[in-house]
């Protein structure tokens, strides 16, 4: 009995160290793999950078929306556009392909903890989000002299980390429901309209009234409003309403993902 009480916590901490080590290895190699996959890294980083250059920096020089310059306002939008792309394509595209090739099955048959796999994918998407947001900020600061204080930048990065989670869950849902060869098309069909209607490409108040109402249902809208809030821009809704919007969306995605996963398990 006494040996059991002594060995149990030790075994528990061993398992924890082992799981943590596996997670770190998974995350490191997932990041390396996606960085090497130029089809992913170039487009996921390149699109928001090019879009921001044209629509946030070159076209609107010196104009203001409320208290912030257009270049800074658009930085929030394209930052969200970039991180959402990294999450949807990294996780949605990645898991869908690994499901179809049987790689995920081989990994589930191994002693790898499933959570290590999921967290590694999520953290990789966060890392790409941070790269994109940092790049956009550097462009804004150097080209359009956008003034960003350090606390503002820190809040942007924190929002990037947290904001990746709802879209990571959405990526999982797409990967579980859509066959691999249809996944990139499906992601684009969701990602691009959701970005436009959420006010990521052009300011939300320039959209038709009905789209502005529809935007309330979109996680991209809530996240971009929180991002603008980090710059001191007064959003239409309250901060808590945006957090609730994101939380609700995440819960719905988690619910669908768990149903889809159970269905997949039953069919296997």
């Amino acid at each position: 009995m006494s040996t059991a009480t002594i060995t149990l916590p030790a075994a528990h901490s061993n398992t924890l160290t082992r799981n943590l080590r596996i997670f770190l290895t998974e995350a490191r190699y997932e990041f390396t793999r996606l960085l090497r996959t130029s089809g992913f890294s170039l487009s996921v980083i390149g699109f928001p950078v090019v879009f921001y250059l044209f629509f946030g920096l070159i076209m609107p020089r010196g104009e203001h929306i409320g208290s912030v310059t257009v270049s800074k306002y658009m930085l929030a939008g394209y930052a969200v556009f970039g991180m959402v792309g990294a999450a949807l394509f990294g996780i949605g595209g990645g898991v869908a392909s690994e499901l179809s090739t049987g790689w995920l099955e081989l990994k589930s048959a191994s002693p790898m903890p499933p959570l290590a796999y999921l967290l590694a994918k999520c953290c990789t998407a966060m890392a790409f989000g941070v790269i994109i947001v940092s790049l956009l900020s550097v462009l804004g600061i150097t080209i359009a002299h956008v003034s960003i204080t350090f606390p503002e930048f820190a809040r942007m990065i924190a929002l990037t980390l947290v904001g990746t989670v709802p879209f990571a869950c959405m990526g999982m849902v797409i990967a579980l429901l859509v066959p691999f060869n249809a996944a990139p098309g499906t992601i684009n069909m969701i990602y691009l309209p959701m970005s436009f209607c959420g006010g990521l490409w052009i300011p939300i108040m320039m959209l038709p009234h009905i789209l502005q109402k529809f935007a309330l249902l979109l996680p991209t809208y809530h996240l971009s409003q929180l991002m603008l809030g980090a710059f001191g821009y007064a959003s239409a809704g309250s901060t808590s309403s945006h957090w609730l919007g994101l939380l609700g969306f995440t819960l719905i995605m988690l619910g669908i993902a768990s149903i889809a996963f159970r269905r997949l398990e039953q069919n296997s």
């Binding site: 082992r18 090739t101 049987g102 048959a109």
Partner: protein, 323 residues
């Protein structure tokens, strides 16, 4: 006090007997998929420690389903799966098993050595890196990306991943598909050496020659049921018995190009079956010497003569033929 002792000893002895006898077992397994397909029908299968068992069967016989059940990737509709006396889904069980699945493919943009190290990291006591590379013949391709190597090399990398944890039990689902003859023989040698080190191997294959060359025991399954099981020699003799010929050891297959009609051929002493496809006629005979003498006497123009012993392939086809 004695009662307490008995109660504590009983489970211990039960566990030991299970671990020394059956390494893995499927007991009365029925597996029906959600789409209604019955993949396994009351199938029972036991693997003993240190043996190589080959699961043979045509496409759709249920071989891969059996492997997936044993790996805990799928749950049976009814029946029980035990690996080392435990649930196959437990991490503790998975730490002792290795698997090579059919049609498994790794993402392209990681290197072979990186994959080997990722998988070694899953186990507390993995096989040394150099041993894995040698066993799976990965020398020279270790720094290549998975997407850059050939189909046969990919197959060898997946074999390496199955070996990574130095497991006691290996599931190899059609491991030599896409390998050239040399690589296939190399993998056979590795599988044999695993068994000599006391490892248990379950191998599914379409290559009957492979089952014949490797397995201690062959289990033939068809439509989710075990058709027969035994040593390769036993399966061969059972197959020839079922193919309509007698179990006589002198059973031979005679192929030739002859103009004689089937009725004449079947009347020749010893001939049990006669099939014509194209210009070639295939006969089975239980008295090959007598049959041949008669055959050559009857048809002076006979040519392209070939005489063969029935192979495992014929036994297999006879056993799994649809009635």
């Amino acid at each position: 006090m004695s009662a307490v002792l008995e109660r504590t000893e009983a489970p211990a002895s039960a566990i030991t007997s299970e671990s020394t006898e059956a390494v893995a077992s499927l007991t009365h397994i029925t597996k029906r998929y959600a789409n209604g397909v019955l993949a396994l029908d009351n199938l029972s299968l036991t693997l003993q420690g240190g043996e190589i068992v080959s699961l043979l069967g045509p496409n759709g016989a249920g071989k891969s389903t059996a492997v997936k059940l044993m790996m805990g990737l799928s749950s049976p509709t009814s029946g029980s799966v035990r690996i080392f006396g435990a649930d196959p889904r437990h991490t503790i069980t998975r730490l002792r098993t290795g698997v090579m699945l059919q049609a498994g493919k790794a993402p392209e943009m990681l290197r072979v050595c990186e994959y080997v190290n990722i998988f070694r990291g899953y186990y507390p006591q993995p096989m040394p890196y150099a041993d894995i590379v040698r066993a799976a013949s990965l020398e020279g391709i270790e720094s290549r990306f998975f997407g850059q190597i050939s189909g046969g090399q990919k197959q060898r990398v997946l074999f390496a991943l199955a070996l990574a944890g130095d497991p006691d039990l290996l599931f190899l689902d059609e491991p030599t598909v896409g390998l050239d003859i040399e690589a296939r023989r190399g993998m056979w040698a590795q599988i044999r050496s695993l068994a000599t080190r006391g490892k248990t191997v379950l191998l599914t294959t379409h290559y009957l020659e492979e089952a014949d060359a490797l397995a201690d025991r062959i289990v033939v399954i068809n439509k989710g049921c075990v058709v027969c099981e035994g040593t390769p020699a036993e399966v061969k003799s059972l197959g020839s018995a079922l193919s309509g010929a007698s179990t006589s050891r002198s059973l031979k297959i005679i192929r030739c190009s002859t103009s004689l009609p089937a009725t004449t051929l079947l009347a020749i002493p010893g001939v049990t079956t006669a099939d014509r496809s194209g210009i070639l006629t295939t006969l089975t005979s239980t008295e090959p010497e007598r049959t041949l003498r008669e055959l050559l006497a009857l048809d002076q123009t006979l040519h392209s003569l070939e005489v063969q012993s029935p192979a495992l392939e014929d036994a297999f086809l006879a056993l799994t033929a649809n009635p």
